[in-house]
Symmetry: C2
Subunit: 190 residues, 2 copies
C-alpha cells in the first residue's frame, strides 16, 4: 500500500471485535518498527510494555479515558474492548526530556498495525498513577502514551471541518465522523 | 514499499545534493499526509510553512544546529545544503498544548519524503526567535520543528548500540554511523 492510503486507513478506532486476539509476535514486530527512527540526540529513551492477555488487559482498561467529545458514551462495551495495548514508556534513567519521540513511535506503530489489518487508538488521557500501580511499572518509567489495538469494529468517516468545529460525533448508524481541516487552511504563506 | 523498509530507508540525512531542487507541489503533498492523522482532542493545531526558494532557504539555514555529536563538523557546506524546509508551527490561537502532534506529523512527512526519493532530517535545535524574525512568522505561531529536505548525499549505517553509547559518528570515508538499541533492550516485561 502506498503511504497516503496507509495513513488514510489509520483511523482512531474505539470499538473492536473483542473475540479477535493479537499474537505477542505481531505486537513485538510493531515495537520493532520504532527502533530505527529518529530520536532527539539519538538517545532512544523509549521503552515498551506489551499487554495482550485478557488478565492484563483488564488491568489497563479502567485507567483509560475514551472519546471525550462523546458525552453519552462511556467507552467500549465488554465485547468491543481492545485485544491488546502497547504502552510507550519514557525511561527517566536515560533522560527526562522525551521531546516528540513518542509521537514518532506512535505513528510508526499505528501505520504498521494498519498494514497488519489492525485498528488502533492513541490514548493520552490516562490515569498514570493508577496504571503504574496496577501493572507494577517501575518508578524509573514515565507512562507517555497507551496505544489500544484490536480488530476494528466501527466505520469512521472523515468530513471537511466546518467553522472550526473540531468535535467528532456519531450518526444514527453509529458511524464515527471526524472533521479535518482542509489543506489550504494548514499551509501558511510567508 | 512495505512500511518496515520505508522506515529503514528514512535516515537522518545532513548532507544533500545541493543542485537538486524540490517542486512546491511535492512539498505540499507531504504536508497533505499530515492532515488526516491523529491529533490530541482532534484540535489539529499544526500549521506548515513551505520553504523551497534559494533566497528563503538562506534565511532558514543560519538558525539551525547540525549534528551536535560531530564536534569537528560545522554543518553542510554550500554544495550540501538542504533544497527545502517544512517548518512545523503550532497555532497558539487554537491551543498552547501541542502534545505529540508534531512528532506524528514529522514521521508522516519523512516517510512520504522517502517514498518520493528524498532525504530528510528533523531539526529541533533551532534559534526560534531569530528564525521567526528572518521569515516574518506571525506571533501567534510557535516554531515546533524544522524538517530539512533534499536529495540525500551521504551513506548512513545503522550499528547495534554498544554499552549505551548513543553518539553517532563518521568513519574515514565519511559514512555516518548511528547506534541503535536492540529490540530486547526496549521491551520491558511486566
Amino acid at each position: 500500500m502506498i503511504l497516503k492510503d496507509l495513513i488514510f486507513e489509520t483511523r482512531s478506532y474505539r470499538r473492536f471485535d473483542g473475540s479477535k486476539k493479537i499474537p505477542y509476535k505481531t505486537l513485538q514486530d510493531l515495537v520493532d518498527l520504532t527502533r530505527l527512527s529518529a530520536s532527539g540526540a539519538n538517545r532512544q529513551p523509549l521503552k515498551y510494555a506489551i499487554i495482550n492477555t485478557p488478565e492484563k488487559c483488564e488491568k489497563v482498561f479502567p485507567s483509560l479515558a475514551w472519546a471525550a467529545y462523546l458525552k453519552d458514551w462511556e467507552g467500549p462495551s465488554d465485547k468491543e474492548k481492545p485485544a491488546a495495548y502497547i504502552i510507550i514508556l519514557g525511561d527517566k534513567s536515560i533522560t527526562e526530556s522525551f521531546g516528540v519521540d513518542h509521537g514518532i513511535a506512535a505513528q510508526s506503530i499505528r501505520l504498521g498495525a494498519t498494514e497488519a489489518g489492525l485498528g488502533t487508538c492513541i490514548i493520552a488521557s490516562v490515569k498514570r498513577d493508577q496504571l503504574s500501580k496496577e501493572l507494577g511499572i517501575p518508578e524509573k518509567y514515565e507512562i507517555l502514551l497507551v496505544i489500544a489495538l484490536g480488530k476494528a469494529a466501527e466505520r469512521i468517516i472523515i468530513d471537511e471541518m466546518k467553522e472550526g468545529d473540531v468535535k467528532y460525533w456519531r450518526d444514527s448508524e453509529k458511524n464515527h465522523h471526524v472533521p479535518k481541516r482542509p489543506l489550504d487552511e494548514i499551509i501558511i504563506d510567508l
